[in-house]
Symmetry: C2
Subunit: 245 residues, 2 copies
């Protein structure tokens, strides 16, 4: 069988997240259906990881096995022709049999976009989080530095979720302001449930002066979700890139 | 009476253009209604110019006269609270009585956004025009230079429109490609009906090799609409900025 790796963009606001679930529009199910229409096969589409309801992807990676002989360069066009426009296969690549989108993932980059203008944007309102309070970017950058490295991020995951290890490594966080938009990018070996949205909410609290950057190590050590900032809404979050060994 | 100048952003896809018209959702009518709700007055909102159905604005300018005593800094919040989220008043300023958004306009800048990737974007599909053919940017820049200056742009306006002078001056055109997106910006003293969309369509034809840049002066001189490129769709077009003396 061929093993096909797809690069996928989607507009999160139209879906209840990546994962297949009955009676709820989801990205995995939509793409599996489209693949069935063109190959006749019931495939199991394995993503690098789920994204939650409302979260966007610019470069989600997923793979599936098939006996279909469709030329690789035609696969994006074939699948896209059966998909809603709010999901696009950007690229397809044939990979070795043992490639697994989730297990082989080395690192991911997520982006959180904030509109920091006085008024929300009419055009981009569903693609960014609007906050009119002045945010101190330099303080946010200082705080971000404390997150870099291997830490137990238990304080930064949705409470009540699994008991598996909450140790993750963050390789880099960049925060840039251009005009009124603040773009935060987080690269790490993996992220816990809601982790990027909670890190972003914590950095916003720092930017507003509610949390002192020097207190971040203490908040990490506390492993106490209530000490971190709020979970920012999903529509400001983008899975930008997934990288493999 | 006070004369209030508004800076306005709107998502064109939700409206049948700026101009007030019965039974069709339009931006002017929506804002006039919101102003009526907060001031009790039937105002006449004068824009720098109409935008067509589907065209976006990042910085439309319009003004109205009022006896209302609402403090100027509260006006954007007050109007926005009565508006759909797809229209936002970004700023309000009190200007001298004789200020007129249309008559006093010195220059305008429009932007046309093209996605030149192989596949359309799932996220930005309603905010840019997708064309997968490779476009030669250097040739497009050469062609754009021929448009700069004062010309009779009759070949670049929708046919069947008014007989008024079609002489306009273009001060500058910039074309930039970043990743897969091509952003063209046009600054001039005014633009004819559909003119920016036809200029953009003509530049796309140049980029595809259908029109030679050196033929642009001849196409201008012909005053023949059929010699210019097609009218690109409205959803890639943005009124970016309106400037005054």
């Amino acid at each position: 069988m061929r093993n096909i790796k797809l690069e996928i963009e989607y507009d999160g606001k139209d879906f209840n997240g990546w994962q297949k679930q009955p009676n709820k529009l989801n990205i995995q199910g939509e793409i599996e259906q489209a693949i069935k229409q063109i190959t006749g096969e019931e495939v199991d589409l394995i993503a690098s990881g789920r994204t939650d309801a409302g979260v966007h992807a610019l470069g989600q990676i997923a793979n599936f096995k098939t006996n279909s002989k469709i030329p690789i360069e035609k696969i994006p066009y074939a699948i896209n022709s059966r998909l809603k426009q709010s999901i696009r296969i950007l690229n397809a690549e044939e990979v070795e049999d043992k490639f697994h989108s989730r297990y082989n993932c080395k690192q991911k980059t997520y982006r959180y976009v904030i509109n920091n203008a006085k008024q929300a944007s009419a055009i981009y309102r569903k693609l960014e989080y609007h906050i009119s309070n002045d945010l101190n970017i330099e303080e946010m950058k200082k705080a971000a530095n404390y997150f870099i490295g291997e830490h137990d991020f238990k304080a930064f995951k949705a409470s009540g979720t699994s008991n598996k290890s909450s140790v993750r490594t963050i390789y880099d966080i960049t925060i840039e302001k251009k005009d009124n938009r603040i773009v935060m990018e987080f690269t790490g070996n993996g992220f816990l449930y809601n982790m990027v949205r909670i890190l972003s909410g914590t950095l916003v609290d720092v930017g507003m002066g509610k949390i002192n950057p020097e207190n971040i190590p203490d908040i990490i050590d506390s492993k106490d979700r209530t000490r971190a900032g709020k979970t920012l809404p999903p529509y400001g979050l983008y899975l930008v890139k997934v990288e493999y060994k």
